[in-house]
Amino acid sequence: MIAIETIHLEKTYAVGFWRKKPRVALRPLNLTVEEGEVFGFLGPNGAGKTTTLKLLMGLVSPTGGTARILGKNIYEAEVKAQIGFLPEQPYFYDYLTAKELLEYYAQLSGMQPKERSQKIDAMLERVGLKDAARLQLRKFSKGMLQRVGLAQAILHDPKVVFLDEPMSGLDPMGRREVRDLIEELKQQGKTVFFSTHILSDAEALCDRVAVIHQGELRGVGRVAELTSSVAGKVELIWNGSAVPAGFSALGAECYTSGERARAVVADVQQEAALEILRRERLRLISLTPVRSSLEEYYLQKVNSAVKPAGVAQ
């Protein structure tokens, strides 16, 4: 079943005071996300990621097109009860405690009082804020606010979770915790749609990714496929601080670091490169085919010329 679907969804803002000029924030976007998928929405700052999320949340009205979540109109209360949302760099009510904040969101989500108190305690423990439950949010660090933000987004057990830059501004530990939480949501069969420009996170977590730039969808792909294609090159690593002269004749890219050296050569030159190492009596440590990375795919899409938006599956 399709969890999220956008059909020619677009947004143009009118900017200026007197003579308003149109500013395209999102060109017609056609996108589908299957239930249970972790979907990464990638793009540089100002690409249109947050606008897309706001359109999906019904916070801004589209200039054209429609969006559906779990097969229903995004403005239906029934749909909103099934979604959780974490905005980018969230700040919450300064004078509420973490427990009071979750209580408030649980009330708004229509949770019953008995269910509320049980789930809030469990959720605070799950995001590691059990000890800070009675602390006012103005005393929270950025990482703690992000965690309480995640807690409010998943407290009511939504089927679809939207996260806008969930790792932004977090330290390595915080990023790891958020990653674990997204993994956990995936294990539970939830659909997770998150925007990010941290490609390593997307590569580690997502089933599929979409790249958006200048308000236009540039490409959609399965992460496993994007990163498994062989680039026609091999990487050799050996012990030694010097690069034998023969490598330059092979057109290799060579690097040295401490007691190790590395060379990337075309796969047809593999045997010749190994022969050089044998001749020089250098000890080979590894020989691996170079695979495409998500970064390459991302850069290729972002740097490509603007094309008319197509339907992405």
Binding site: Y13, K54, M57, G58, L59, V60, S61, A77, E78, K80, A81, I83, G84, F85, L86, P87, E88, Q89, P90, Y91, F92, Y93, D94, Y95, L96, E100, Y104, Y105, Q107, L108, S109, G110, G149, Q152, A153, F162
Partner: protein, 257 residues
């Protein structure tokens, strides 16, 4: 409907815990103290001075609180993006606006209550006992609450489409103009043609705060007619409702950038 109550309760809790509010109450208490001092040096008119100064302080501080908090009700939530998480839940936009209004109205009611306690304490201090005409002070306080409800709805209306600074300017300007609404109506009656049309429209469009100000009458122990109480109550409720409806209509169409 329950979501309106939750939003109102949260707004009330946030406002009450905000220390700025306590500072304003402290100022009001100080002013009531000043009323006692002035009352002591005003021979034979201590009661009049205390009632006048005390109620004026309640009104002015109430106005400051209503505008100060009212203008930030929507913009603060947008700035902090808390509105995004609230509206991504099954909460309708009108529920948010109405909840915010009742939350602020509750805050103002509680504040007025505590400031009124200060006024009655000052009155007891200078008069040593209460008299039956002091009951009219409660009517003056009720009218102040009605004024604050109108102001609160106007602040919410302005904050639904403009910046906090502009909202404060608009709301405060309307409070000043509205305090002279009766004079504006008198002026409209004296003019002819286009000027009359403009003045009359402005006079009936701005909130009539002067009709809600009976501090002078109460200080001079003059009774307030039940007719005025009924008319003022109906007027304030109708005006606030219209302003809230306006705020809802604007907010329903607003893009939360």
């Amino acid at each position: 409907m329950s979501r309106v109550v939750y939003i109102a309760a949260n707004t009330f809790r946030e406002a009450v815990r905000d220390r700025v509010l306590y500072n304003l109450i402290a100022f009001a208490v100080l002013l009531s103290g000043a009323a006692i001092l002035v009352g002591q040096i005003s021979i034979d008119i201590e009661r009049l001075v205390v009632v006048n100064l005390g109620l004026t302080a309640v009104s002015l501080f109430g106005v400051v609180i209503a505008i100060f908090i009212g203008i930030g009700l929507v913009s603060k939530e947008m700035e902090k993006r808390t509105l995004y998480t609230v509206l991504s839940r099954p909460v309708r936009r009108w529920e948010f606006i109405v909840g915010k209004f009742f939350g602020l109205a509750g805050t103002l009611l509680v504040n007025t209550f505590f400031m009124a306690v200060g006024v009655f304490a000052a009155l007891l201090y200078v008069s040593h006992k209460f008299q039956s005409s002091d009951a009219w002070i409660l009517v003056a306080l009720f009218f102040i609450v009605l004024q604050l409800l109108i102001l609160c709805s106007l602040a919410l209306l302005f904050s639904s489409f403009s910046s906090p600074l502009l909202s404060a300017v608009f709301a405060f300007s309307l409070f000043v103009i509205g305090s002279f609404a009766e004079d504006l109506r008198l002026f409209a009656r004296m003019t002819r043609g286009l000027t009359h049309g403009l003045a009359a429209t402005a006079a009936y469009l701005v909130p009539n705060f002067s009709a809600l100000n009976v501090i002078g009458q109460v200080a001079h122990e003059q009774p307030i007619s039940w007719h005025l109480i009924a008319c003022n109550t109906a007027y304030a409720l109708a005006y606030s409702t219209m302003a809230i409806c306006g705020a809802v209509l604007i907010f329903e169409r607003r893009n939360l950038k």
